[in-house]
């Protein structure tokens, strides 16, 4: 591998990184919103969300990415490929995150929120100041796990022409006919990115001890 191959790999890693980061941010937020909506148990909406979560969890990402990219024009949408890729990743990860948040809600101590209400907090302030900070800590292991799966699954969006880390390895080996070296480098880069997340999770675990009363 020459200098330009290294350059391409780093560029690919950057693409993987920023697309994943945006999708993670969207997925975590949207997951929380869906979990909140599901708490309200609105009749038809609830069933639709359950269906969405079930299907989105089972659908392989490649499939979803191609599907969005190819059917967007039929729906009159002009999707940039990065947007389509982010959409696919977000749709997928949101479904998982919604379940993670929901279980955090369900396990949240009712006594603590009652104590908040008793001091005159409105449900919204209770949620924002008392529940959310604790749910973030307790859900972080699950969320980080899901984030790492998103990053690991992100090569799928190469199918619509996004040049991510894995696609770069394909491009390099198409010329050198030696697939192994770039794959090894890519593997190391993936481990570095996900390693940061795992480290983040360790930090949260230490915080979580405080919540274990």
């Amino acid at each position: 591998m020459n200098a330009s191959a290294w350059h391409m790999l780093l560029e690919g890693a950057w693409t993987t990184l920023w697309i994943s980061a945006v999708s993670i941010a969207i997925g975590v937020m949207a997951g929380l919103v869906i979990a909140l909506i599901r708490l309200a148990r609105i009749p038809i909406v609830d069933q639709l969300l359950v269906l969405y979560i079930s299907v989105a969890r089972a659908t392989p990402l490649v499939t979803l990415a191609l599907f969005i990219f190819l059917s967007a024009p039929d729906l009159g949408l002009d999707l940039n490929r990065s947007v389509a890729g982010i959409l696919a990743l977000s749709l997928n990860t949101t479904a998982f995150n919604a379940e993670i948040w929901r279980s955090a809600f369900r396990n949240f101590s009712r006594e603590q929120s009652e104590a908040a209400m008793a001091t005159g907090m409105t449900p919204w302030i209770t949620f924002r100041r008392i529940m959310l900070p604790q749910m973030v800590i307790t859900s972080l292991p699950g969320l980080v796990n899901e984030m790492s799966f998103l990053i690991k699954g992100s090569p799928a969006i190469a199918v619509i022409g996004i040049v991510d880390l894995t696609r770069v390895t394909n491009r390099i080996s198409a010329v050198t006919y030696e697939p192994l070296p770039p794959i090894l480098v890519a593997g190391a880069l993936y481990m570095a990115i996900i390693g940061c997340l795992v480290w983040l999770q360790r930090l949260a675990e230490r915080r979580a001890n405080r919540l274990a009363t």
């Binding site: 191609l66 990219f69 190819l70 198409a174 010329v175 006919y177 030696e178």
Partner: protein, 261 residues
């Protein structure tokens, strides 16, 4: 979209590939290859802008047939299935299929020698769909087709050929030449395993005027000698005996390729 619309909006969008040397590939971050050079010629030739998008092969033809792009400026082999949806400009390269073997493997010199050997080929490719031709050739001589292993892309198949999991790999003429030229001590070109085949640019069936326009462009390259130059540069030969007309139907293709049953 057809030519009229392209001219109206002032640009044409073409889809190209990124890992099919020597037709299209990426080196040092830039698109290279036969079609990359042709694209430059097309930019000079056309009175509208040309926009290029680079896609992996998996979704490429589907995206073109879905009107995401106006045409595919790629090294696409002609096949029955594709002719359902696309017309092809006149071929610019042969796609006859050849076996590739390890350079140090002396057991393969003729088609007969391929009998019962393990072969690698790309999944969902024209090469796979024309395997029955090889099977017939082998059976005529009392042999049989060995195990067929399908790969997502060729670099992995070549890796397995080199490490001995495969005995030979089938690819079409042009990439075989390129591979053997770049790794002469590892790979060698084996016998041809199919009848004639063609490589050219697919244009959606509902864009007949665009097909005509691209045919005219190819004529133009032939006349000023650029086509032959580029073929020599990228393919190592200029394929003088290719058909001169666009390919529009299965019958026409079968007649030209000598495929009729």
């Amino acid at each position: 979209a057809d030519l009229e619309e392209i001219q109206e909006r002032g640009y044409m969008e073409v889809a190209t590939e990124d890992n099919y040397a020597p037709f299209n590939f990426i080196e040092g971050g830039d698109a290279k290859g036969f079609n990359a050079d042709v694209l430059e010629e097309l930019r000079d030739y056309a009175d509208f802008e040309i926009r290029q998008e680079i896609l992996p092969w998996t979704g490429l033809l589907a995206a073109v047939s879905n009107d995401q792009y106006d045409m595919a400026l790629t090294g696409a082999s002609v096949s029955d299935e594709r002719l359902r949806v696309f017309n092809y400009t006149p071929p610019y390269a042969s796609a006859q299929h050849f076996a590739i073997k390890r350079a140090d493997d002396d057991s393969i010199s003729d088609v007969d020698d391929l009998s019962d050997k393990t072969v690698g080929v790309q999944a969902g490719s024209v090469l796979l769909s024309r395997l029955p031709e090889l099977e017939t050739m082998l059976e005529d001589d009392g042999g049989e087709l060995g195990e067929v292993v399908q790969y997502e892309s060729y670099p992995e198949a070549f890796a397995d050929l080199a490490n001995g999991r495969l005995d030979y790999v089938i690819d079409s003429a042009v990439p075989v030449n390129t591979l053997v030229a770049s790794k002469p001590d590892v790979f060698a070109k084996g016998p041809a395993v199919s009848g004639a085949g063609y490589v050219s640019w697919p244009v959606p069936k509902d864009s007949p005027e665009l097909l005509e326009y691209m045919t005219g462009f190819l004529e133009h390259l032939k006349e000023n000698g650029r086509l032959a130059e580029l073929q020599e540069k990228w393919f190592g030969e200029s394929f003088p005996n290719l058909p001169e007309k666009p390919l529009k139907s299965v019958e026409q293709f079968h007649e030209l390729a000598g495929l009729d049953d």
